[in-house]
Point group: C2
């Protein structure tokens, strides 16, 4: 396990009043869920299902899949480690820069890990390196916010049938670009889609994610999982949230992306910052004029109680990168002002 | 993952009114904990610590250990799988019959697994088989309720310094026989002690356990663990429970063992049952006159709403074994009557 993820508010003595450092959705209304979980606390004296069958069946029915095409996990993180464990030892390629857990999980399980910085295109016949067994990509990608063209990705999947392609769609609710639906994913023998309830519903404390994919791949994962990995309250939360009419449609996507566009524009207007184009609600920013992201992070936390993500530990990025996730408009405005002050002082 | 553990109440349509099938303590008062967790629900929007540092430090301080001599896990189950993963590939011996997860975890991680039916004694120089890398034992043992003599175990540990000895003390709060304290355990370079908050506090829904052992062994485990495996509410529960004065002393042990003695006696008095001697609050029972434990289990569930554990899938046991955990006196009395009725009908 490495250190240096976002959401590390416990490191600061001053209370964090606005957390831009993790990509969980800031404006989720959790009141209904919390009221439900208050009742569920009466059941903590019972074991959860050894594997979350009931929630898997519910998700399958919503997505029109078979129950064994869904595997519910202890956060998407368990899915990542389970996939790395199941396919070991392999030659794994990772589309970088991206979330560091894919490489960590692969190294822990003895894979040989290499970075790819772009997918093979038409000129390369869409062919991945000859020795590839596994390809990991995050789509929309953390930390860049970019989305791979769906048609391109389909070609890569089709031309590399021997490669298991893991697509982490944890941020799928926060983009308008076309992505694979679970029902499309299961048609490929070599695709696993990762999904996160954490990001969509802002419940990282509970730990709840799931994998969809064809039965053959998922039965291999199931052989490698431990029982009771998903706690009872996470399962109950999943059953509650999937029971809401809005589960398949995220009404807030558009307003959230509009706010991200405003935030990117306001940061660019400060001068001295290169804001990478994003297709989702978070964005990667480069300190063009120098200075270190870690210094900015400490300044914002200590002076304002704002937490951002120092992105210098992502493969391929340097100490001048940071990532911020969109919050409400007023908080975003205050963050822009605070960053502006730091830029002036530097 | 195999099927067939206890606590499978979801399999029956009739509500289970008394669950004797899992070894969690039946009479725990969870009201204070639940009230605390109701407040903690407000924090599910934050990530838990990537590794539960704060709770590890708390446990270390209570046991007078260093913080890196404690590793908090997603139930004791995560500890079992983490140990199997860390020491792979190995030649693993398991003291049978016992909890099936040790063998499952070892097989999943490619160990060669063999059964031992007793520990080597003085005549064998306390020596384990030459090729042993790992030894797993449960103490008090599930499902037999037996406890290994502490002095004997010390000899086995001392004479086999090359073997990592994993002692699952999940039921340590429910026996009066001497066991290793965490402070004693860390003095051995080759001992890992597993502990369960689930069993002691009856909170299997939350998933909370921990390992204690010397720094060297635990640092190897830490290299193999995924981040955020323990959810935020489990961590909060651990902080709450370890903050209670009673944490280091389980006042109910004696009454619970007295009730177990009454239950064993009443079952023996029915005739036709062999009740194994137990040193803890659960017991293994053999249908001496024939009949199948699975038939008794279905009868009790469907006719009375009582759930027992069919123990026929433990290594070395047959289809006539079942396990029951002590509950309150009135429930125990009703269970004895119900089993008596089944024996008469058979």
């Amino acid at each position: 396990m490495i250190e240096g993820h976002g959401d590390d508010l416990y490191k600061y003595t001053r209370p964090i009043v606005a957390n831009f450092s993790s990509n969980v959705y800031a404006n989720a209304d959790l009141s209904g869920l919390k009221a439900h979980l208050r009742h569920c606390l009466d059941h903590i004296g019972s074991y959860p299902e050894p594997e979350p069958y009931t929630l898997e069946a519910r998700l399958a029915s919503l997505y029109r899949l078979r129950a064994n095409e869904v595997c519910v996990t202890n956060g998407a993180t368990e899915a990542i480690y389970l996939i790395a464990q199941t396919f070991r030892p392999a030659r794994a390629y990772i589309l970088q820069p991206t979330f560091s857990e894919y490489a960590d999980a692969c190294r822990m399980h003895g894979h040989i890990v290499s970075a790819l910085y772009s997918l093979p295109g038409e000129r390369e016949g869409f062919l991945l390196p000859d020795d590839a067994d596994l390809l990991w990509l995050c789509n929309p990608n953390n930390p860049t916010g970019s989305v791979v063209d769906k048609v391109w990705l389909e070609e890569v999947i089709r031309y590399n049938p021997r490669v298991c392609i893991v697509i982490d769609q944890s941020y799928e609710s926060f983009t308008l670009r076309p992505l694979f639906t679970p029902a499309e994913g299961v048609n490929y023998p070599n695709v696993l889609l990762l999904h996160s309830m954490t990001k969509r519903y802002a419940i990282p404390g509970l730990r709840l994610g799931y994998v969809t994919g064809n039965e053959g791949l998922l039965s291999r994962l199931r052989l490698n999982r431990m029982p009771w990995s998903v706690n009872l309250l996470a399962i109950e939360a999943g059953l509650f949230l999937t029971g809401q009419e809005a589960f398949l449609y995220h009404a807030e996507t558009i307003s959230c992306l509009e706010e991200a566009r405003w935030l990117a524009g306001a940061l660019r207007a400060l001068g001295g910052l290169e804001v990478w184009p994003t297709e989702t609600h978070f964005m990667l920013v480069h300190l063009r004029m120098g200075g270190r992201a870690s210094a900015l992070k400490d300044y914002l936390a200590e002076k304002y109680g704002f937490l951002i993500r120092d992105a210098s530990n992502f493969d391929g990025l340097d100490e001048r990168f940071f990532r911020i996730a969109t919050r409400g408009h007023e908080e975003n405005r205050l963050l822009v002002n605070a960053i502006g002050c730091w830029l002036k002082e530097e």
